[in-house]
Point group: C2
Chain length 190, copies 2
């Protein structure tokens, strides 16, 4: 059983300027890892020809894995775009579908794309500093950097949640977030 | 079942300067509500004679109550002291003992006092801006404002966690956080 004497780390500390968290496991995703996420395939190949930039990193902290435990992570999405589509995370459902997640915006300008697995309903919600976004269970979620600076945010979810990337990779999000004259817009995938 | 279409609120926004959260239920605790928490009873009565100040508030957001859901809250502890003991929260265990909680420091200077229910082990952990503190299950926790400004922080826990205040009210925390020349110190309750 997890208790005060065997949890590690009890404390971490993040630097909002660099997006570095003092503990946890660093996961990095480069553009080539995101094949299939962007709708404009030609723009994707064109962008990839110019290099394979870091798109985002997540530092995952998993102090314990019991039923009542929590995991958290610091996400950092770099600014950038593929065609008119902003840099984004792969997006996932939780393996344990009932598991929710709380996201907290720290620095930068972004949005979250939420899609109800059952109904297909899609929502775009702001993720700016001091925003707290609730991702309900059974909801695919993807984070998008719509600004000029790195987007830094924290996510907290039940330790049991798990990550199911496969389902959304096969099905894809029904909507994309694109640049427009009036700012980020949610449109049906072309 | 909770889903994208029936969760309210999906988004809240906090103001770090005022400690106001845009949604949720506000709970306020004044000094008279904290009888028994401070070790110096004479100082407590003396302070109370001068008024019954607000000590802290929590704005609790409970979007859904399913097994995988989460609750979160914004806490704001005012600066102040009773004798040499800083203003603090009542402190609690989770009714569902296995439930952990993640605390995130936003503004101000504070500490968390953690106490393992089974072993009595006590720990004092810093809660400054950008600190993330993991409160394991089976651990009583109290937050303490050791600074000159309001201490503002977020807490996220499983929706099922629940609050058990009674156990720590009867037993009391074995340690207190006091002012000293070298800063906040954790000492055994006199």
């Amino acid at each position: 059983m997890s208790s005060l004497s065997n949890i590690e780390p009890l404390t971490t500390r993040y630097d909002p300027a660099t997006g570095i968290l003092s503990g946890g496991r660093l996961i990095e995703r480069r553009l080539a890892d995101l094949r299939g996420c962007f709708h404009d395939l030609a723009a994707f190949e064109r962008t990839l020809e110019q290099g394979n930039p870091l798109v985002y990193s997540v530092t995952a902290v998993e102090p314990a894995d019991g039923e009542g435990d929590l995991h958290y992570g610091l996400g950092v999405i770099q600014p950038g775009a593929v065609g008119i589509e902003y840099f984004l995370t792969k997006g996932h459902l939780h393996t344990w579908r009932d598991a929710a997640e709380v996201y907290i915006g720290i620095t930068g300008e972004g949005v979250m794309l939420l899609e109800d697995e059952a109904t297909g309903e899609a929502r775009m919600l702001g993720l700016r500093p001091h925003d707290v976004v609730y991702v309900p269970g059974h909801t695919a979620h993807r984070t998008v950097n719509t600004g000029q600076e790195p987007l830094v945010y924290l996510g907290v979810c039940p330790a049991r949640a798990g990550h199911d990337y496969g389902t959304m990779q096969r099905r894809n999000f029904s909507h994309v977030v694109i640049k427009s004259d009036v700012g980020p817009q949610l449109v049906r995938r072309p």
